[in-house]
């Protein structure tokens, strides 16, 4: 395993039993938020309606929690402290003034440029699909995956690391699952992306498209027992019957009705609103700046080509 650490980056070449650092519960699992109707982790319009039904007009749009999930703190009660969370948010906004961290989701294709003292020009750019996103506050991070020279490569980036110079979204889309770790066991064409890929711009105000692609996995052995994970984005696994039987035995279908579990693993909507009211105006300003820059970029490009 080639492991090359310089602050933020770890290159992980195809065999890696990592990622205990990603909490599977918590605000990363967008679909399990309490007291808001479940927006299937995707569309935010339903959530908006649910809020207005109560007769209380939200001050900040509710999709904030999908666009800026890292502003919500870790829901573990014994790790919480309001002052720490406040200072953390202040630091995050200060960093966001220097780097544009765009809206992206698991399944989007990103290009990250980061300073790298070992690279020939002291910076390196990596293009890949986001297969996992997690962490709260300044620990927020994501993993990009690509296949380069027939070799699967994954890069771990911390969003608020000052070594990251630029994060570009080349294709903004979502997938059917909250994590795409199964791409490690999928055929390489599903995680191969051109390094010189052109960014695709969505029209203003358009909803984020969901890519309904179903991935074909390689035959076993796998890194995980994917048949037990209720994945929506994979084709028929083609396993013998006993695998599905066992999966049905160990399944816990009742857990989705466990209200206390959901409550402990999420930040209540009222608290979310409090947090976003505090940071929303600044985030909005940064967003406006970003749009201006984007317009300038789109305007400049044809000139250069000519």
């Amino acid at each position: 395993m080639a492991l090359w650490c310089r602050g933020v980056q770890r290159i992980l070449v195809d065999v890696r039993p990592i990622f205990s650092l990603f909490q599977t519960i918590g605000n990363t699992e967008y679909s399990s938020l309490s007291s808001v109707s479940r927006p299937e982790g995707l569309g935010s319009d339903e959530a908006k309606e649910a809020k207005t039904v109560e007769g209380h007009k939200p001050i900040v749009p509710l999709e904030c929690r999908f666009v800026y999930p890292e502003f919500l703190p870790d829901p573990r009660l014994d790790h919480r402290n309001s002052l720490r969370e406040k200072l953390e948010r202040m630091d995050m906004l200060n960093r966001r003034a220097h780097i544009d961290i765009p809206e992206f989701y698991v399944g989007s294709i990103l290009a990250v440029t980061s300073s790298n003292s070992h690279a020939p020009e002291k910076s390196s750019r990596f293009v890949g699909i986001c297969i996992q996103r997690g962490g709260c506050g300044l620990r927020a991070s994501f993993i990009l995956r690509n296949v380069i020279d027939h070799q699967g490569v994954e890069m771990f980036y911390e969003m608020y690391s000052p070594v990251v110079q630029k994060i570009e979204v080349l294709r903004l889309e979502k997938r059917l699952d909250n994590e795409l770790l199964y791409l490690r066991d999928a055929l390489p064409e599903y995680s191969t992306f051109q390094l010189d890929m052109e960014p695709e711009f969505l029209p203003e105000g358009a909803p984020v498209p969901v890519n309904p692609i179903k991935v074909k996995l390689k035959p076993r052995p796998w890194l995980e027992r994917w048949e037990r994970q209720e994945l929506k984005g994979v084709q028929d696994l083609g396993l013998p019957e006993r695998f599905y039987k066992r999966a049905a035995e160990v399944a816990r279908p009742w857990e989705k009705y466990d209200l206390m579990k959901e409550y402990r693993a999420s930040i209540p909507a009222e608290e979310q609103e409090e947090i976003f009211v505090e940071v929303y105006s600044q985030l909005q300003q940064l967003e406006v700046m970003r749009k201006k820059m984007k317009r300038r970029r789109t305007f400049v490009r044809p000139k250069k080509m000519g």
Binding site: R6, G7, V8, D78, H79, R80, N81, L83, R84, E85, L87, E88, D91, M92, N94, R95, A97, H98, I99, S115, N116, S117, E121, K122, S123, G137, L138, R139, E158, Y160, S161, P162, V163, V164, Q165
Partner: protein, 379 residues
């Protein structure tokens, strides 16, 4: 041997033996059988003066709402407005009514007071070279000096083992943190705070200081007591894990999970040799209570200080205790990381200098307000 011991501590002896000593018949002393205690049974450990009953029995006082508000008014008149609101100190100027004590001057090896803080969490920060470091945030609560006991009057319960009659070198400074409604405490406890004029506090700690570093009671202590780049020791109570086995408590390997092993997956194995010894050596690592002890983590670097919210960022994630637990911060005792330049002495007084910036960073720490780190290409 017994006789020699007796003559040294003659006045502790039973009367009969003492009379023999007076007669001068030393040979009798050796024959005399001494029964009973060989010294007066005085208590070795005395509780310090501030160890008084703190909590009060709460009972129904049948107070009308008017009475309650009147009590609150009296408290407000006596102690003034709360010293900290929303984490921010409300002091515009020094709250001291008396002329402050004459300030000593710092010298290498001088021991300053420490502060009482709360561990509020851990988050990453980055150094100027791009290295990620985990930092622990310690919020300095509304600390006030309650009392100074000079070395002559300070009799600590435990004296030096090597030289029990040595002169006490260090004085004692009582520091309180987190003011609370005096009605929740006993009269005796509130009495400790009378001279300082400070509202009784939930936490009361003591720091041993050099007499030169004495601070006037009533003085508030701030996070800026420490500067970024200083090294500190942090004392906290470790997380209580209850009764734990050897794998959790001492990191033993345990036994194999399978291959015919029964009931020996997490056991310690052999605990001692047989043969002539046939016993367990003292200090053998065994199961038992784990955590809930005071532990000091030495030599942590102060990376950043926030003067508005009184928060100190120290390097490292291993400060003892849970989030929101109380810790004590001292100047480090490690010889190579001790203070080399004059610190704020005896503590930081806001009225002395120009107001400090909200955030003070260590030289090698990357502030989030600074632009992205880039590496120079050296040709």
């Amino acid at each position: 041997m017994a006789g020699v011991g007796c003559s040294v501590r003659g006045y502790f002896l039973p009367l009969r033996v003492a009379r023999n000593v007076v007669k001068g018949s030393i040979c009798c002393l050796f024959q005399q059988q001494v029964r009973g205690a060989k010294h007066l049974n005085y208590p070795r450990l005395r509780n310090p003066i501030w160890f008084v009953r703190k909590e009060r029995t709460k009972y129904e006082e049948h107070l009308t709402p008017e009475n309650k508000s009147f009590i609150q008014e009296v408290i407000h008149d006596k102690y003034g407005p709360p010293t900290v609101i929303g984490g921010i100190s409300t002091y515009k100027q020094s709250p001291l009514k008396l002329q402050p004590m004459e300030r000593g001057s710092w010298f290498p090896g001088c021991r300053r007071t420490g502060v009482i803080a709360r561990k509020i969490g851990i988050y990453p920060m980055w150094l100027k070279d791009g290295t990620r470091v985990l930092t622990t945030l310690l919020q300095v609560l509304d600390n006030h000096v309650i009392r100074y006991i000079p070395p002559e009057e300070f009799h600590p319960p435990r004296t030096s083992v090597r030289n029990p009659k040595s002169k006490q070198q260090l004085g004692c400074l009582l520091v309180g943190a987190e003011s609370a409604d005096p009605q929740t405490f006993t009269k005796e406890y509130c009495g400790l705070f009378k001279d300082s004029g400070v509202m009784p506090t939930k936490i009361l700690g003591r720091f041993l200081i050099s007499p030169e570093a004495a601070v006037q009671p009533g003085t508030p202590l701030y996070a800026s007591h420490f500067k970024p780049g200083d090294y500190v020791d942090v004392r906290g109570k470790t997380v209580y894990r209850g009764f734990q086995g050897v794998m959790t408590r001492w990191g033993f390997k345990g036994g194999p999970a399978s291959h015919g092993v029964t009931k020996t997956h997490r056991r310690p194995g052999n605990i001692g040799a047989g043969g002539g010894k046939a016993r367990v050596w003292p200090g053998q690592k065994m199961p038992g209570h784990m955590g809930n002890r005071y532990r000091i983590l030495y030599g942590l670097e102060v990376l950043r200080v926030n003067t508005k919210y009184n928060v100190i960022w120290v390097k490292g994630p291993a400060v003892a205790g849970e989030t929101n637990s109380t810790v004590y911060i001292y100047d480090t005792r490690l010889p190579l990381r001790k203070l080399k330049e004059t610190p704020h002495f005896p503590t930081y007084y806001p009225e002395d200098d120009d107001p400090l910036p909200d955030d003070i960073y260590s030289e090698n720490l990357h502030p989030f307000t600074a632009p992205t780190i880039t590496y120079e290409e050296n040709a």
